[in-house]
């Protein structure tokens, strides 16, 4: 187990390093930073001044090394746009995104698992068809379109929810639903197939044969086993939601890191984009790392291979 853990940590570090290289060079090549900094009406001399002041005239490799060493110390540099450091900025915005992604995940689990269970209990019935249609439709509707439609319906026509912003928990209802709905189909499918498999297993039949109550069998035995892979999937979905938050946050004007990333791309705020790319990547790698560990702990066979 220790060996396995050490190996995975090594991989995590290697992945993070690679992503840092990609993030740095990808972002640095996009347009001239000094021009962006100087604003719309600046002249050539003003831009040259800014280049010098910020050290943007040095070779890229040196700038990368500088950045990496600082990043390892937890210092992601200064935003070229905001007065805060990138670290402060991300710390300020991350909670919103995490709350959004987390509530999105909860919603997708709340929809996905019950529907998955019901359709597994009655496969090929109308309820199975309906839940599968919901799932397929969920993947076919562009998130931003759905977000805007929900906003018009619930925020404007029915006036049930706030329209935009992130001040209170009510503000999270629509965006979390939009984000969560998109992640529902895979969870629903996996629950369904997991349940089908578990229900066909011998021990469930044994449990029924022993005369246990159907509901008890369902919840105590079947669901618990069927849900294990769903939990693993959920951690990966959480990672996806962090990046899905870009569109949602932009639609609902939520000040999370997704929106921050998008804005920063538009204004070439290099340090911020680099940091966010790295952080989202670390989140993803970290989550898969944890779910790997949990899986390995549950299933010793994985450790050996």
């Amino acid at each position: 187990m220790l060996n396995f853990t050490v190996r995975r940590i090594f991989l995590v570090i290697l992945v993070a390093f690679t992503v840092s290289v990609i993030a740095f060079f990808l972002v640095r090549m996009s347009g001239d930073l000094a021009t962006a900094l100087a604003g719309e009406d600046a002249n050539a001399q003003e831009i040259a001044d800014i280049k010098k002041i910020y050290g943007l005239d040095r070779p890229l490799i040196i700038q990368y090394a500088d950045w990496l060493i600082d990043a390892l110390r937890g210092d992601f540099g200064a935003s070229l746009y905001f007065p805060e450091t990138v670290g402060e900025l991300v710390a300020m915005r991350l909670p919103t995104t995490l709350q959004l992604a987390f509530s999105g995940l909860i919603i997708s689990l709340l929809i996905g698992i019950p529907f998955g269970v019901i359709s597994a209990l009655k496969p090929d019935s109308w309820i199975d068809r309906i839940s599968m249609s919901i799932a397929v439709a969920g993947q076919a509707i562009p998130t931003f379109w759905m977000g805007l439609m929900l906003m018009v319906l619930f925020g404007l026509i029915l006036r049930l929810t706030p329209i935009s912003g992130d001040e209170s928990w009510q503000h999270f209802i629509l965006p979390a639903f939009t984000l969560g709905y998109y992640s529902t189909p895979p969870i629903m499918r996996l629950t369904r197939s997991g349940m089908l498999e578990v229900l066909a297993g011998d021990y469930i039949r044994t449990a029924y044969a022993k005369g246990l109550k159907p509901l008890r069998v369902l919840f105590k035995h079947a669901l618990r086993n069927a849900v294990i892979p769903v939990v693993a999937l959920a951690s990966v979905q959480f990672g996806h939601m962090l990046s899905g938050a870009i569109v949602i946050e932009s639609v609902f004007a939520m000040q999370g890191i997704g929106y921050l990333a998008w804005e920063s791309i538009l204004r070439n705020d290099i340090a911020v984009i680099q940091a966010i790319l790295l952080i989202v990547c670390l989140f993803y790698v970290g989550l898969t790392f944890i779910s790997d560990l949990v899986n390995a702990w549950l299933d010793p066979r994985i450790r050996v291979s």
Binding site: L11, L14, V15, T18, V19, I22, L26, V27, M29, S30, G31, P123, D124, V136, A137, Q139, A140, I141, P142, T143, F144, W145, L148, V152, L156, A200, G239, L242, S243, G244, I246, V247, S250, A261, W262, I265, L266, I273, I276, L277, V280, C281, L282, Y284, V285, T288
Partner: protein, 303 residues
């Protein structure tokens, strides 16, 4: 098709024991149904795209600023010449929708092809050779998976500028992960088959084993993933367009049409509803087709 039904004639005794026959039949029927519906709808859209120049009532690029934003036929004040109304620059909306099918399909299909080639090449290589090669490719896959697609796509498109080619290339080079993962495990399975050993014992060169022994046996996975990736790419392009960095005008991709209609969302929702529904139907059809193919070919995967 004959191939698939031929495979079905082989009845796995184990399977017959476990699932009752009616359910099995039911699933096959519904799988065929979704292939039928998805295929028909997709076929209609492909037809529309291929014969856009014959079907479109107007030139999709010809503008008339005095006839902007005419409403579609179900609203009052519509113009019978423009069934679905006109867009922001007074161009016929139906014609743009028809031409837009071309662009959206092209993005979906080209992206799926590019990413399919990259992903299968990586996946098959990793699965066939194993060992260090596998470790390196698995690492590449992990790295790719850890990078948020939308964010990276936005950054790259911001770098190279949005255009049809750029969007296709960027998405193509990003969406290969699922192919690689699935093809890798499918290849690992296939390469342990004795027919591969037999081919090697015959003296078959590696490239030939990969191409003619392994590939035909994993290619059905490829088709299923490809359909999902087509849908995925179309939606992603729409998101990129929505955020301002997708296909550039005057090419009318459906995603771009939604993005352009965004500012009219509140008062003229039909402007984004029309391409929105078209897009959803397209993605739905592609997904159904993929689901159907997967269900139909699933029993044989359990070899």
């Amino acid at each position: 098709m004959s191939n698939i039904s031929a495979d079905h004639q082989k009845l796995d005794p184990d399977e017959a024991l476990r699932s009752n026959m009616t359910r099995h039949l039911f699933r096959r029927i519904s799988a065929h149904n979704s292939i039928l519906i998805g295929g028909t709808v997709l076929g209609a859209i492909v037809f529309m795209a291929l014969f856009a120049s014959l079907l479109a009532p107007h030139d999709p690029f010809s503008q008339d600023l005095s006839k902007r934003l005419l409403p579609p036929f179900w609203m009052e004040e519509h113009n019978p010449k423009h069934i679905l109304g006109t867009d922001n620059l007074g161009r016929d909306y139906l014609s743009r929708l028809i031409y837009g099918a071309q662009i959206s399909l092209m993005i979906g299909v080209c992206t799926a092809i590019i990413s399919g080639i990259i992903g299968s090449a990586l996946g098959i290589t990793a699965g066939y050779f194993g060992g260090r090669v596998d470790a390196v490719i698995t690492f590449i896959i992990t790295t790719r998976l850890s990078m948020p697609i939308v964010l990276v796509a936005l950054a790259v498109v911001a770098l190279v500028g949005g255009s049809l080619h750029a969007v296709i290339l960027v998405l193509g080079f990003l969406l290969w992960d699922r192919y690689a993962v699935v093809m890798r495990s499918a290849t690992q399975q296939a390469r342990n088959m004795d027919y591969v050993s037999a081919a090697r014992a015959i003296g078959c060169p590696t490239w030939r084993i990969v191409l003619s022994e392994i590939f035909p046996n994993v290619v059905n996975n490829l088709i299923v993933i490809a359909t999902f990736e087509v849908a995925h790419a179309i939606l992603l392009e729409a998101s990129l367009s929505f955020l301002g960095l997708g296909v550039q005008p005057p090419d009318p991709s459906w995603g771009l049409m939604i993005a352009e209609g965004k500012e009219f969302l509140l008062f003229d929702p039909w402007i984004i509803t029309i391409p929105g529904i078209a897009l959803s139907i397209l993605v739905l059809a592609v997904n159904m087709l993929g689901d159907g193919i997967r269900d139909v070919s699933a029993p044989e995967n359990r070899n």
